[in-house]
């Protein structure tokens, strides 16, 4: 036990004396959460649009006023002819152009029908889609106001209600994902680097020719990072609560327990990586390419798993991050307890045990 404590103490010296890594360790979670929370978002706000109004009558003016009054759009300029539309798009000044046909008001009254064209810049398809939906919504609302005296028989009224994230805030989706990425990165990359560093510097040779047991080395390496990762997890949750007002519906204790479980599985992966890489650089590359990319792309963090092709859906099952994201979303947003997420927890637990067993088995007691 004294040996183990001595070893852990040494690990903490390494961590606290490497100021640069320490800065990355604690600076990264904050920077990432801020980035994803504020900058990278799929909500639209103050999108610049242009208007081509051929009719310039009372109705179109009213519609334009309604659009510019919403917080989603700001009308950047008025276009005078069809020919100008292409040039404003090319300049990239606006994301969408609304074209009202000639004699809009008159047509509406006479024919009970008038058209408005929404042209969007689909170089960014998601934004284009969102813009057209929002404009549609505004037009529909206006139409309802016009028809308020009218009663239409047989009417289907869809009433959409968004649950768990009623305001459709992007940050709600990103927090579990960012938490997963950070914990994975800190745990797996840092441990794999710290073990390969011993190999690279030759200190592993001396450690091997000593009575210290492989399990003591592995746990001694992992222990400080469990501690640091837990701090990171707490920082992320605090930031999301206090800065983004994200609610935590479920139990903090359960969230903490699940996080520790995920951290341990990531650490075990880190040890596994260190057993197959000889240098710190290889360890870092494998961690980044082999862990980060799948975590970002296949865990359901950014792209929904259900819309992936079948083979990728199958592969996503072996990624621990996928299960952890489901668990975190469940606890934070839906407030579910262990009775709902026991299956995911069990899978994560199984993976963790498997990785630890494999890494202890693969740990080399000699140089070859």
């Amino acid at each position: 036990m004294k040996r183990f404590i001595g070893f852990v103490k040494k690990e903490f010296y390494h961590i606290f004396r490497d100021k640069r890594s320490l800065f990355i360790l604690f600076g990264m979670p904050i920077a990432q959460i801020m980035l994803f929370g504020f900058a990278i978002t799929n909500e639209i706000n103050n999108v610049d649009i242009a208007i081509l109004d051929h009719s310039k009558d009372a109705t179109t003016t009213e519609i334009i006023n309604k659009i510019s009054a919403s917080k989603y759009f700001s009308i950047k300029q008025m276009v005078n002819s069809e020919a100008d539309i292409a040039s404003v798009f090319k300049k990239g000044q606006v994301k969408a152009v609304l074209t009202f046909e000639k004699e809009f008001s008159k047509n509406l009254i006479k024919d009970h029908k008038a058209t408005v064209q929404i042209i969007t810049d689909a170089t960014d398809p998601n934004t284009a889609n969102t813009i057209s939906n929002y404009v549609n919504a505004i037009l529909q609302k206006y139409q309802k106001e016009l028809n308020k005296d009218l009663t239409i028989t047989y009417q289907i009224v869809p009433k959409t209600r968004m649950v768990y994230n009623p305001e459709l805030k992007g940050v709600y989706m990103f927090v579990p994902g960012v938490m997963t990425i950070i914990l994975m990165l800190v745990s797996a990359m840092m441990t794999s680097i710290s073990i390969t560093r011993e190999k690279e510097l030759g200190t592993m040779e001396i450690l091997l020719v000593s009575p210290i047991k492989p399990l003591q080395v592995i746990i001694g390496k992992v222990f400080p990072y469990i501690f640091l990762s837990v701090i990171n997890a707490v920082v992320i949750v605090m930031l999301s609560i206090f800065i983004f007002n994200m609610p935590v519906q479920g139990s903090f204790i359960l969230l903490g327990f699940e996080s520790v479980l995920f951290i341990i599985s990531a650490l075990a992966l880190g040890i596994l990586i260190s057993t197959i890489s000889a240098t710190q650089q290889t360890a870092m590359m494998i961690s980044l390419m082999g862990l980060m990319l799948p975590v970002i792309l296949l865990s359901g963090f950014i792209f929904p798993i259900s819309s992936m092709p079948m083979p990728l859906q199958v592969i996503s099952n072996i990624i621990p991050a996928k299960w952890f994201i489901i668990i975190v979303k469940g606890i934070m947003l839906k407030g579910v307890g262990l009775q709902i997420i026991w299956k995911e927890t069990l899978i994560l637990l199984g993976m963790t045990v498997f990785f630890i067993a494999l890494s202890v088995k693969k740990y080399k007691i000699r140089l070859e």
Partner: protein, 300 residues
């Protein structure tokens, strides 16, 4: 006790690093492995410290088999690898403390063993190991390898890259450790250090050329060696190499070590030859063989 090596062979992919190596090191003997870089010294150390498994042969260290009893060897030997292998970001004291702890002992318990060495680095005990000079690093590494009072000490090229004064001090320390019943196996590429060992093994290309005391090895040298000197060193080497009766020509400090093929060689004949090659101030004197001469002769 000591070390016993029986017919050890070890090869990496295509390279035969060790070929049929056998020797014994007696308890509390200071045994030297002398050979150039790439001779297989480090591989042999790694086999004996249980870091590598030999392809053939057996070996015991302190009475334990290197394969089956590797755990016992690991707690009973001290190993100082050729490359400086301590934690550079830990201070001198922290390094020593760490190694004492993982060997289940304390600095105080075995302080008398390392005292002579440690007092020299103690003024720098709060300095990071990475910031020490070469000699200091080696002294610290030796302290760390000794802190658990090992029965056998393995030192792989401990004085490479160390200044001459520190080298001398280092060897004096080894002599003192020997008095404390520690068996020492040390490797070095420096022939002058070989003379300080009780016995030495000359090793080259994975094979042992000869094992004996340094005195005996020198005595076995078959020929009379002459120190030759002249006004132009370069011309002298060239001329001697062209001389049809030469057996060996090696530069050795300010002299050339020369041996002749003939049994009834008379230095005057060489003098005449060298004079005819436009050399002046020629000096030819008899000298005794060194370990380096022996090594060169055996490695021929």
């Amino acid at each position: 006790m000591g070390i016993s090596v029986n017919h050890i062979s070890k090869s990496y992919k295509n390279v035969k690093a060790l070929q049929d190596i056998s020797f014994d090191v007696k308890p509390s003997e200071l045994f030297g492995l002398i050979g150039p870089d790439g001779a297989g010294k480090t591989t042999l150390f790694r086999v004996l410290t249980t870091l590598l498994i030999a392809n053939e042969g057996t070996a015991t260290v302190a009475g334990f088999d290197v394969v089956t009893d590797y755990k016992k060897i690991r707690s009973n030997v001290g190993y100082m690898p050729g490359k400086f292998s301590l934690y550079q970001d830990l201070t001198v004291e922290e390094n020593l403390h760490f190694f004492a702890t993982i060997f289940g002992t304390t600095i105080e318990e075995n302080y008398d063993l390392i005292k002579d060495i440690y007092v020299q680095i103690e003024p720098f005990k709060n300095r990071r190991a990475g910031k020490l000079s070469g000699g200091m690093k080696q002294k610290l590494a030796l302290c760390c390898a000794l802190i658990h009072k090992p029965k056998v000490l393995f030192l792989d090229e401990p004085t490479t890259g160390v200044d001459p004064v520190s080298r001398k001090e280092f060897w004096e320390m080894l002599k003192r450790l020997q008095q404390k019943d520690i068996t020492i196996l040390v490797s070095t590429p420096y022939m002058d250090e070989a003379a300080l060992c009780d016995r030495i093994a000359l090793i080259q290309e994975g094979q042992i050329l000869e094992i004996d005391t340094p005195e005996a090895i020198v005595k076995h040298y078959p020929k009379q060696i002459y120190n030759v000197r002249a006004n132009n060193m370069y011309q002298l080497i060239k001329s001697l190499n062209d001389y049809e009766y030469n057996h060996s020509v090696y530069p050795f400090g300010e002299f050339i070590h020369y041996t002749d093929k003939r049994k009834d060689f008379n230095p005057d004949q060489l003098l005449v030859f060298l004079k005819s090659n436009q050399l002046s101030n020629i000096e030819i004197t008899e000298t005794v063989a060194t370990i380096e001469d022996t090594f060169m002769e055996l490695a021929k």
